[in-house]
């Protein structure tokens, strides 16, 4: 393979392929190897006490997943190792997840994992060990600019696009990233896995949060944060019911409010606000969710920070619709005004700005300005 190093089209890189045991990362590793790169597969052990088998579609670091990743590496013909990043994952992702909920925000742990683990702890270790890049099965595209530099773009498969959870990557991280699946649809990836003889071709997609194996986020939070009875009130402060912990709610949530009486107008009520200080959950009509503007903190830019006021589209939650916005950086705070109101926007989630398919930057939503209820 050494003669490949002189190939004119693409330089041969030493690539570390993060392999979860799923179909996407397996095909990504296979594509990187086929492109002539020197690929080593690594499965990240993110749980210090892994379950033996997957239950349903959840979880990503059982022993079975580790074996699936190893088998895929065998078929591709690349070395394979398991790296223990459980401690870092607990500190940077799980503890952060719990702390964010405790503060009344709604975190996105996948985004945090990309920011702190896959493209930080893992990438740093990989670079130090002599690798040039980390390869993952994320659905997103990297575009190399003629004059150097890179852009991050949405994947061609809009339903699978994961650029939202990669928006936190800065230029240095992007420079060492490889996303071989961005130009292909998920259906085609499954067919390709089958063609390549990868046994994970028909493995179900993983959903939800990998470290909450039973999918019971409320139970997980209750275990970590305990229960504390508080009030459910309407916008006027009238008590409508009680709950067992404000962190158990998400802005825009409708189900499971356990309010005895229907609203006066008979319309459904939604969680409008969560106050961890007073342990109060405020509910109200759907219109109360309409967000007109927001501020976001800890901005990260894929390239140069946008100067002045700009027109973008914004994605405000995972799998959310894009909305046209005007955004401006004010010191370290990103101020975003929506052209039309949007619902279901929670502090703690990311706002990712796009210019067409290109990711411009990402920031963490801090406050929202509502139409009918200021909270």
């Amino acid at each position: 393979m050494s003669d490949f190093a002189g190939a004119p089209t693409a330089p041969r890189l030493r690539v570390l392929a993060a392999m979860s045991g799923g179909v996407d990362s397996a095909v990504a590793a296979a594509r990187a190897a086929e492109a002539g790169h020197d690929v080593t597969g690594v499965h990240l052990a993110l749980s210090s006490n892994p379950q033996s088998f997957r239950t349903g579609a959840r979880g990503c670091c059982t022993i079975e997943d580790s074996r699936d990743a190893r088998r895929a590496a065998d078929v591709i013909g690349i070395p394979f190792y398991v790296w223990d990043l459980a401690e870092r994952f607990r500190e940077d992702v799980i503890d952060d997840f719990v702390a964010e909920y405790a503060a009344g925000r709604t975190p996105n742990p996948c985004l945090r994992c990309n920011e702190k683990i896959k493209f930080a702890a893992l990438l740093d270790k990989a670079i130090a060990l002599g690798f040039d890049a980390v390869c993952t099965g994320h659905y997103a595209r990297i575009v190399d600019l003629p004059g150097g530099g890179r852009e991050l773009h949405r994947a061609v498969d809009g339903a699978k696009d994961q650029s939202y959870v990669l928006g936190v990557l800065d230029a240095a991280q992007l420079a060492h990233s490889l996303f071989p699946l961005g130009d292909t649809t998920k259906d085609e990836i499954r067919l390709e896995a089958e063609r390549r003889g990868l046994a994970v071709a028909k493995k179900p997609d993983s959903h939800d949060i990998c470290f909450i194996a039973d999918g019971d986020t409320q139970g997980f939070l209750a275990k970590h944060l305990g229960t504390a009875t508080g009030d459910i009130v309407d916008a006027d402060g009238t008590k409508l019911g009680e709950h067992e912990g404000a962190y158990g709610f998400t802005i825009g949530q409708r189900k499971g409010l356990r309010i005895g009486r229907p609203a006066a107008d008979g319309k459904p009520r939604y969680v409008l606000d969560i106050s961890p200080v007073t342990n109060t959950v405020t509910v109200g009509p759907a219109e109360g969710l309409d967000v007109l503007a927001l501020t976001a903190v800890k901005p990260r830019w894929c390239g140069e920070p946008a100067a002045g006021e700009g027109r973008y589209t914004a994605q405000l939650r995972a799998h959310g619709e894009e909305v046209p916005v005007t955004a401006e950086l004010d010191g370290e705070v990103l101020r975003v005004r929506l052209d039309t109101p949007a619902r279901g926007i929670a502090p703690g989630q990311a706002v990712v700005l796009y210019d067409g398919t290109r990711v411009v930057g990402s920031a963490t939503i801090a406050t929202t300005e509502r139409r009918t209820v200021a909270v």
């Binding site: 892994p50 223990d84 002599g130």
Partner: protein, 393 residues
């Protein structure tokens, strides 16, 4: 390819391959009564007699098993159950903390599920149990000890245990003692008759024999409760159709391992000394674990800690350069844990994770050692950088 992981498994000897393959295509269950069965039985019994001769035992003391793990489990659990059933007061197991997991986890299981109390015997900084420490542990109450189990040689750091001194204490108090000699056989003299032990574990694939067969050498008066019930093929303590080809291959390998032991220890011991010198010269702050006296450790074993490195990163970097070795510690789900052996020896957990085992064997050459000597310096440098890069910022 510099293969420096013979303690994990070593290539089969051509003679063992020949002995085994001679029987693979021939029909016959050694328990059958017809001519084919008698032929198979003859192969098994001749293998047993050969093994007995190689191991300083009587043929009736050889219980064939599926390998080291089964032998250890049969000895530890079987003897515990038998001794406890004969006298319910006997619940104490005296065990070294540096045992292989096949012993350690069996002992732990007995304490979790069968009412055993475990006394872990103290070890020194080389991982060695001393006879006076064993005596002291026994004397706390000689009547309640079910069994003693201490390995002949440690699989990670290669430290030899004073088995004869320990078994003398055991015999003085009439307590059965088991030793796992999986790593010792073929490297140091192992005679069951001279050992004074009640039970001794050996296995095929560590000495140039096949995988999947081992033996528990068992004193004739010892009757452990079986793990596997069935046809009672092996002295009624082990059931299962006898593996005729594997028995023949195992016996052939054991005979050669014992016959060649002195030469092996001399040749491989010199290579090992060269390896230790080369690694120490290349990485001056590398720490040799285990007994620094070559007479106190397995001749084929070298085990180092490389401060500032992660063992798994080092292993990968050496693997990429074609040098195959081991972190020497057990993996659960492939996740490396700091070695319980090093921790028991008093090592710092970080340093324990910075460790690699290099183990030599009958195919090792000076070229293997030279390849390691060339590869270790850049690998350690890089692994140290990685250790710094992944430290909390």
């Amino acid at each position: 390819m510099p293969y420096l992981d013979h303690a994990a498994t070593t290539p089969m000897l051509p003679e063992a391959v020949a002995a085994m393959t001679a029987h693979l295509g021939v029909v016959g269950n050694a328990s059958s009564l017809h001519a084919a069965g008698r032929r198979a039985r003859r192969v098994v019994e001749e293998s047993r007699e050969s093994l007995a001769e190689s191991l300083g035992a009587r043929p009736s003391e050889i219980v064939l098993t599926a390998g080291g793990t089964e032998s250890d489990n049969l000895a530890v659990k079987g003897l515990y159950w038998a001794r406890r059933d004969a006298d319910p007061a006997r619940r104490r197991i005296l065990c070294s903390p540096v045992e292989h997991h096949a012993v350690l986890d069996a002992v732990h299981w007995l304490s979790e599920h069968e009412g055993a109390e475990v006394d872990y015997l103290p070890v020194d900084a080389h991982g060695r149990v001393h006879a006076d420490a064993l005596r002291e542990a026994v004397l706390r109450n000689p009547a309640d000890v079910a069994l003693i189990t201490v390995m002949w040689a440690n699989n990670e750091v290669g430290t030899l245990q004073p088995v004869l001194e320990l078994s003398a204490v055991a015999r003085e108090f009439d307590i059965p003692m088991h030793a796992d000699a999986v790593q010792a056989l073929g490297q140091v003299p192992v005679s069951f008759a001279d050992s004074g032990l009640t039970a001794l574990t050996v296995t095929g694939h560590k000495i140039g024999g096949p995988y999947g067969i081992g033996a528990l050498l068992l004193a004739r008066n010892a009757t452990p409760v079986p793990l596997l019930h069935g046809g009672g093929q092996e002295r009624d303590v082990r059931s299962g159709t006898l593996d005729v080809p594997a028995a023949a291959g195992f016996a052939a390998a054991a005979a050669l391992a014992v016959e060649r032991r002195t030469d092996f220890a001399g040749t491989v011991g010199a290579l090992r000394d060269g390896l230790v010198a080369a690694v120490t010269a290349a990485v001056p702050d590398a720490v040799l674990n285990g007994d620094p006296d070559p007479g106190g450790r397995l001749p084929a074993n070298a085990h180092f800690s490389f401060p500032g490195c992660e063992g798994d990163a080092l292993l990968m970097l050496l693997d990429a350069r074609g040098v195959e070795c081991s972190t020497g510690s057990a993996c659960s789900a492939g996740v490396p844990q700091p070695s319980h052996v090093l921790l028991a020896m008093g090592a710092d957990p970080l340093l324990a994770r910075a460790s690699l085992r290099f183990s030599l064997g009958h195919t090792s050459t000076r070229g293997d050692v030279d390849a390691l000597a060339d590869a270790i310096t850049p690998a350690v440098e890089r692994a140290r950088n990685a250790g710094l890069a992944t430290a909390r910022r």
